[in-house]
Symmetry: C2
């Protein structure tokens, strides 16, 4: 079977999102029950790898992982965090949500707020939206002049290379949903009193610009995909498939890193002896 990273990696060259089926299941589980079983294994694998990464970081290692999640409203960024990162020790996870920029954030370069949330060594950082908003909503809504957003693709690529050089392994997932699925999910938010807070009338304004957003996503995927910061397109009309795919992408990435529990930097036998001599305190 092809790996998740091979399967979901955005093809090189011009990106045509219409050619990627949001309900597709090219590899992996065929149904929800299958996916649930596989998620148990993936969860154990993610948790074990993350613990070793954390240990490595505690011993002076510099490596970290950064998972960037992007997608239209209701594509499931929050649900992915809950179901995938919820399987990992919360001590090892740092979630940063990027909303509409504050006054302070706007007073700085667009990457300023991003840099502040880069995961420290040993952690899996998760960006719920990201610096890509600055070439998505900013482009579609013309929040800045074209020469400004055009220059951002290169600035983003530079930042990602810099982070990678510093030890951060980056993977970026576009959660790809259809407008039909979005309509159903928005309606579900309006119908359920416990979900109404998630709905924002602005969601429909963005929805009305669907083709413009798809074009902006395609540009971001095409111009900012690289081997040090690959873009994956995750079919997301089925929640269980989306969760499985992101968990698999993350697990493969961590497998590659193969973090190791560090050997002791102290004399094991001497410490055993000291400990033995210390008993009977209190």
């Amino acid at each position: 079977m092809a790996t998740a990273r091979e399967t979901f990696r955005v093809p090189s060259g011009p990106v045509d999102l219409k050619a990627i089926d949001p309900r597709g299941r090219p590899i992996g589980p065929r149904d929800k029950a299958d996916a649930a079983l596989e998620m148990e294994d993936l969860g154990a694998r993610l948790d074990a790898r993350q613990e070793a990464l954390y240990a490595e970081g505690a011993a002076g290692g510099r490596r970290a992982v950064l998972l960037v999640l992007q997608g239209m409203d209701t594509s499931g960024k929050g649900g992915t965090i809950r179901h995938v990162l919820g399987m990992v020790n919360p001590q090892g996870v740092h979630v940063a949500s990027f909303k509409r920029p504050t006054e302070e954030e706007l007073a700085h370069d667009f990457l300023w707020r991003i840099r502040r949330q880069v995961p420290v060594p040993g952690r899996i950082g998760v960006f719920d939206r990201s610096h890509y908003e600055d070439v998505l909503v900013a482009r579609v809504d013309g929040l800045v002049p074209e020469e400004v957003w055009q220059a951002r693709y290169e600035a983003i690529a530079d930042l990602e290379r810099e982070l990678s050089d510093g030890g951060v392994t980056i993977l970026k997932c576009m959660l790809h949903i259809s407008p039909e699925e979005q309509a159903e999910r928005l309606l579900a938010r309006l119908d359920d009193p416990q979900k109404r807070w998630k709905y924002n009338p602005g969601d429909l304004d963005a929805r009305a610009k669907w083709p413009g957003y798809q074009e902006a996503y395609a540009a971001a995927l095409e111009r900012c995909d690289s081997d040090v910061a690959p873009w994956y397109v995750v079919p997301s009309d089925r929640k269980w498939y989306r969760n499985w795919a992101v968990a698999a992408l993350l697990a493969e990435t961590l497998d590659d890193l193969a973090p190791q529990f560090p050997p002791p930097d102290y004399d094991l036998e001497a410490e055993r002896a000291r400990l033995k001599a210390s008993t009977g305190l209190g």
Copy 2:
């Protein structure tokens, strides 16, 4: 049955930690299997309450929760985070670990690094160690003159009142273990290659000062317990009991807050109509 908050709250007046049994099970589950069952319910309760708190925060609410974890080495601060906070959506949790202060941190007031990690509205913040280190190790090891650490109790109480006034509900847990249990856990860390990184020869230096630490803990519990920032002493020689107790304390605290999903601040019917009109995009 008495509540967890009634049971574990530090008694007012002089604190005698020797009078509290680290293997005690004054309320709650009698064994590990019982505890596992109760944890399922507690997990669902914590997760549901946290989601409502998050929703409240997204709608402009100012409330957050701050769980402070303190305890001797191996008392289980990390394990508590894994097992208790691991039951909550990671998006709603912010874990801050306070290690030995960096140069930059030491250049500031001792509360500077603490303020930077206060949870934003809607979140459960967790401090793995905290500002209390500055009246624990700092006092026991004489890192600062006595007049300096003596003044910190009041500074801490002031900060906690300020946070409380700002909407942060604080609960502080001392994970109370016996020196015998610590010896076993330290030995387990030396024996297991996957745990050796957690061991630090300095742990034995702190262990040798056990009575001094217990005295410093007692002082912190006595002088910094308040209704806006209560201290709880959690019997922690049994890991399953410790996890249950912290989960119960957190659940009772969240129950009291009773966060509510906010009502829509938009016209529900108008949005349903707009959504209907929008279908057929893409």
